[in-house]
């Protein structure tokens, strides 16, 4: 008996096995498999339509997968009804109960759950959680009387108060403005650290994914594109698509020939090769530099016309366009010196160190 419990507790809190889901002809999920360990914060990242929300809804029990299995702490829950799973779900639009106060929203799961919780404990736990998310004093407010950021906190408190074994967050910061989003990011991490609950956080925003996750899962057209730490994914994207989603890489099409990559702009030497897929070449925005025409003696070169720049505070992004209309971005960190002045419409040679180039294929 004791041994059995020990084995169970070694199981990851969530394990997905070949999860597949179709809507008509469209494949939303295709053989998705991964696990979430106890206390882990996993960011699930991908462009819209990648199947992120479908995956989350399948784990919560709002969608039944066509194939594959879902295990929660070693127990299969693939066909368990949503209200018996003990998985918390925080909705993008918050989905608060509009006719209930903040207090009653948070207490809902305790009052209506499968386990009967005495009303004294309900109030105590609800108040404690309301305090944890920083809403002390707003218990009696109606949902119409609080701001968007406060609604987000109520949604979080409502889920956390039932002590779910796993918390699913569906683009939880998507409905907030940029300023608030940054503050809530720090808040989410603080709350998570305090509770030590595993979080699975879905986001379409690459910065959010990199910032929040202990581990990052990149979803690409219903399949797992990459699985790794934020640094691994950021520095070594596993595919050209992952590199594109990160929004940090210029990606070129072409073919792998001999020891270099043949693109429409000439041959590119490379540093790293990720094998086994459609050939492509990726170089990070901040690794590219622009030089005067014909000033580059050797190495990879892309000739492009300067269009415009965008000032980001700590960095500046210059946009160049090649003759076949491909936009190449060059990021210059202002801590490395003042930005160069480019002339609009004039051609420059863009180059980088061959070692920084990643080739797929």
């Amino acid at each position: 008996m004791k041994g059995e419990i020990a084995v169970l507790s070694e199981e990851p809190i969530l394990r997905l096995d070949g999860l597949t889901k179709r809507f008509g002809n469209r494949v939303a999920l295709s053989g998705v498999a991964f696990s979430v360990e106890r206390g882990e914060y996993v960011a699930l990242f991908g462009p819209s339509g990648a199947g992120k929300t479908t995956l989350l809804r399948a784990i919560a029990g709002f969608e039944i997968p066509d194939a594959g299995k879902i295990f929660l702490a070693g127990r299969e829950i693939t066909h368990t009804p949503a209200h018996e799973r003990g998985v918390g779900f925080v909705f993008q639009n918050f989905a608060l109960f509009p006719h209930l106060s903040v207090m009653d929203n948070v207490a809902f799961g305790l009052r209506n759950g499968a386990k009967r919780v005495p009303e004294r404990e309900v109030r105590m736990r609800a108040l404690e959680t309301i305090g944890l998310v920083g809403l002390k004093g707003l218990e009696d407010r109606g949902i119409g009387q609080i701001s968007g950021g406060q609604k987000q906190r109520v949604a979080l408190a409502r889920t956390l108060v039932i002590r779910p074994r796993l918390v699913l967050l569906d683009e939880p910061l998507g409905a907030l403005d940029a300023n608030l989003r940054l503050r809530m990011r720090a808040e989410l991490r603080r709350i998570r650290d305090q509770l030590q609950m595993p979080f699975l956080h879905v986001t379409g925003n690459e910065t959010e994914a990199l910032a929040m996750g202990d581990r990052l899962i990149v979803l690409d057209q219903g399949r797992i594109g990459q699985l790794g730490t934020p640094a691994e994914v950021y520095n070594r994207p596993a595919s050209a698509n992952v590199a594109r989603f990160l929004n940090r890489y210029n990606v070129f099409d072409g073919a792998l020939e001999g020891g270099s990559f043949a693109s429409a702009y000439g041959r590119f030497p490379y540093g790293v090769r990720m094998a086994g897929q459609k050939p492509a070449y990726a170089i990070r925005y901040d690794r590219v530099v622009a030089r005067e025409k014909d000033a580059v003696p050797q190495g990879p070169v892309v000739r492009a016309n300067y269009i415009a720049s965008e000032y980001l505070g700590a960095a500046i992004v210059h946009f160049f366009q090649t003759n076949d209309s491909k936009v190449v971005e060059v990021e210059h960190h202002l801590s490395n010196g003042p930005p160069e002045a480019f002339t609009e419409g004039r051609a420059y040679d863009l180059t980088w160190k061959p070692d920084d180039g990643i080739v797929f294929g």
Partner: protein
């Protein structure tokens, strides 16, 4: 320069808002005139006439309480007041009990919007026939040798035809419920259709089962629809006379039936008394229903 510009701007804004106010009065004028001519004045006249002196063939504008005394001292009239309230309450409950599940099905369980609209239109189809036909059609259904009795006897459930089906309170309640239930279904289905499906999923995720969600989330959110539906049904049932005339065999006398007979025998004063009583009851019922929810906030 700047200050004079500001002052000019302020003047302009003020005159704009004044003409705006004038325009809004103009916009409500037709409705106000209409309501005054056809609601306020008639009600005032009815109240006034209820105090007139009625003799067998004549009515005079000498003020008296005679007609009011006649109404409240006659068992027939007072009983018809209670009958009206009883039938109203039973029909209201029946339309809710039948209408709520129907609305729940149409408004919440049918996900396809086209199918939803189709089902609601189906509910309205009986209204394409005349009121009288709809009511009278119940006679061959409920009668001693009517369809229901024939079926029950063929199935061997009863051996004697049930006579209580027609020309009783029950037949009036059945007839009215069938006619008015759709006014309950419509507003409730509308409110249910507006519930964000994520809210129901959130409740499920928090561990609530179907009945808890129905009681704690769906019903409270649909309450404004229930109140609006109840208002529709109440106003129509309280003023009813045709269904009871056709299906009760003159045994069920509602306040509406009394108005019809009194007007028929040119007893205008007593008819006005009943009219005033009916209007007061409707006012009380609506005021009561409005206390249940704040419709201004909900709709």
């Amino acid at each position: 320069m700047t200050s004079s510009e500001t002052a000019g701007g302020a003047v302009e804004i003020r005159s704009l808002s004044r003409s705006g106010a004038a325009r809004s009065y103009l916009l409500i004028a037709p409705a106000a005139v209409w309501m005054t001519l056809f609601l306020v004045i008639p009600i005032a006249v009815i109240i006034y006439v209820s105090f007139w002196t009625q003799t067998t063939f004549k009515i005079e504008s000498t003020l008296t309480l005679d007609s009011w005394r006649t109404f409240f001292s006659s068992d027939t009239y007072v009983n018809s007041l209670w009958t009206t309230l009883r039938i109203w309450l039973i029909v209201l409950i029946a339309t809710f009990v039948l209408g709520y599940p129907t609305a729940l099905f149409v408004g919440l369980f049918v996900k396809n919007k086209t199918l939803q609209t189709t089902l609601l239109v189906l509910c309205v189809i009986p209204f394409w026939t005349s009121f009288l036909i709809r009511v009278l059609a119940w006679r061959p259904m409920l009668g001693k040798e009517g369809a229901i009795n024939i079926i029950l006897m063929k199935l061997g459930i009863v051996h004697q035809p049930i006579e209580a089906l027609l020309f009783t309170d029950l037949s009036v309640v059945i007839g009215m419920t069938q006619i008015y239930v759709v006014f309950m279904v419509g507003p409730i289905a509308f409110m249910l259709g507006r519930i964000d499906p994520n809210i129901l999923e959130a409740a499920r995720d928090l561990g609530a089962n179907f009945w808890q969600i129905l009681r704690k989330i769906i019903f409270p959110l649909s309450l404004p629809g229930v109140v609006v539906g109840a208002m529709f049904v109440s106003v129509m049932v309280l003023g009813e006379f045709a269904t009871s005339a056709a299906l009760s065999g003159r045994k069920v006398n509602l306040l509406g039936n009394i108005i019809v007979t009194q007007v028929g025998s040119l007893k205008w004063a007593l008819a006005s008394v009943v009219g005033v009583i009916l209007t007061v009851i409707m006012g009380l019922v609506i005021a009561g229903l409005l206390r249940v929810v704040d419709l201004k906030q909900e709709l």
